[in-house]
Symmetry: C2
Subunit: 341 residues, 2 copies
């Protein structure tokens, strides 16, 4: 590792211009205390010498870092990828930096990440919690330190702050109803958590649709995937094998969709003739699957953007407090061939 170059400091600029350090600092940040003439002189030198302030010194002095922390369960999911896109967009526009952390659905990791945030590393946090997360003490601890937090997608109702979500309940209800209308008399719900906000709401929507349409809810229609992909797959296969015609499946997240296709292929079941499928999914390829997958498409980019915007607002506005509110950006049901036209 090469030695770091002796970097340009504000002190050197000050000496060069015969001004004080504080004047330079203020001039650079366009303070009203400094005359236009001086600002111009300073900026000229800054340009000429390619001076770039040390962000850590700034952060230390000003106790804010222009950095937001983003905590995700995973990134290889179209939803989260698009959400990052939205977040980064807003961040870039507003001069914020984005620190990204993956909890890998693991509560302990999530705790560790938030713990670190208590150091003041980030000005604010955007989080979509891990599926394992049921307590919120780690979040409370962070909020106690006055770090603004905005939830997106996977929220915790018990925490008093802003949450950007989609209409999980309603879209699951709609999707389920769609399946029913297309002739399904038994509908499987693919889940991967018993506690996650989005799953609970989607499940509730599913139940509501059943109820509205005189279908009985049955526990054995709920398939909850765990951490053992192979085992889960076999479970699904078994379930599908025993399924008669008129079965529909609602997959509550994107990654559960492909196993269904796999199982149908393996069992030589045809979609949608034998089984109709709808999945929550933001994948572009949904339209080109065999057959094209009917999806509930979430406004992922929008959600990321909204969450980031709100956080930024909370950070910039002196008298803006994050309210305990839910902002709902609706999803859309995109009907394709995996359900009967």
């Amino acid at each position: 590792m090469k030695e770091k170059i002796n970097n340009l400091t504000i002190k050197m600029l000050a000496k060069e211009l015969g001004l004080s350090v504080s004047t330079i600092s203020k001039a650079i940040r366009d303070s009203h205390e400094i005359s236009d003439g001086t600002k111009e002189r300073v900026n000229a030198l800054v340009q000429k010498l390619n001076y770039i302030p040390n962000p850590y010194a700034s952060s230390l002095g000003s106790r804010n870092s222009k950095t937001i922390g983003v905590v995700l369960p995973e990134v290889t999911d179209s939803f989260f990828a698009q959400a990052i896109n939205g977040i980064e967009c807003v961040a870039q526009e507003n001069g914020y930096h984005v620190l990204i952390y993956l909890s890998h659905e693991n509560f302990e990791k999530e705790k560790k990440i938030l713990k670190d945030f208590e150091s003041g590393r980030v000005d604010g946090v955007l989080i979509s919690v891990a599926k394992e997360t049921i307590q919120h003490c780690h979040i409370d601890a962070l909020m106690d330190k006055a770090v603004p937090i905005v939830f997106f997608d996977r929220v915790m109702d018990e925490v008093t702050t802003a949450k950007i979500i989609t209409n999980d309940y309603e879209s699951a209800r709609l999707a389920t109803e769609h399946l029913i209308k297309k002739g399904c008399n038994r509908i499987l719900f693919l889940s991967f958590s018993h506690t996650l906000s989005i799953i609970c709401k989607r499940l509730a929507g599913y139940k509501k649709a059943l109820l509205d349409n005189q279908l009985k809810y049955a526990d054995n229609n709920i398939l909850t995937f765990g951490n053992d992909a192979k085992k889960d797959y076999l479970l699904l296969q078994k379930k599908l094998k025993s399924a008669s015609k008129g079965v529909g499946i609602l997959a509550s997240v994107e990654k559960l969709a492909l196993p269904i296709y796999q199982a149908c292929e393996d069992l030589q079941l045809s979609i949608p003739e034998d089984i109709q499928v709808i999945s929550f999914s933001n994948s572009d390829s949904a339209a080109f699957l065999h057959p094209p997958l009917t999806t509930i498409t979430q406004p992922a980019f929008e959600i990321g953007k909204t969450a980031a915007s709100l956080l930024v607002k909370a950070l910039e506005r002196r008298n803006f407090e994050l309210r305990n509110e839910e902002i709902i950006v609706p999803s859309t049901l995109v009907v394709r061939k995996s359900t009967i036209g």
Copy 2:
């Protein structure tokens, strides 16, 4: 915005224990200068009071931030998503933080991002350059400041540093040859850049395969997508419409695959009977497209991991200098139904 809580500082710990500030600092970082007994006392208090050091103060004093900057052209691409995963994995293991930036394929943005890095915000950089990037002065400038940089996937040969890539040339050659063997006598190459390292190499591999198999290279077999998706699509459609049987397509990146499927659908051309298709892609859904897409699957996670590991090594080891080397992690050709079995 609530006021920040008066945070615990090392000074307060020092007073509490009747030790000096420097002793506390050293004890926390497990310095050999401090006795085990003292360390224990310090750590006990740290635990008890939940003391977390201010990272910006540490960074300022120690001139390193335990942060790496990751610059990507985009994130909604399986390759980059998986690469991030690999990067984050290594980062988490080694106590590094990951700042993420998207260039959105835009050179000016990329320049701006790297410029900011000159501030010392990050200890090292992982970058996959934008498609617009043909100069490397912004990268040179950063390297002049002794910031270690590791390229991954989209590299710049002219820059003297480590590069983690896949065997672009070879896998494109292989894929093209595969198409030829399956009966294609004309092969289109879908591109989206004339300058990007990966594209150039893939194109070269494509050419080599043509040459080896007595097929003529023709400029009008190269389709270069630009920024106007609609226009590009029409171009592709036009090209396919005029295509006779025995045409194959090699898509040089993931996002170019779906438009092909779209066009074939619109033109009622059947894959693989009328047109055979291979694409570079890391998408899980490739296997479930209609028909399943033959892909060149890149070791994205591995590439991210390798790049990050190397960077970390360069940062941790005092006498480890990043060499001007290419580390090649090979891709695999996964044959599916979009080419004739």
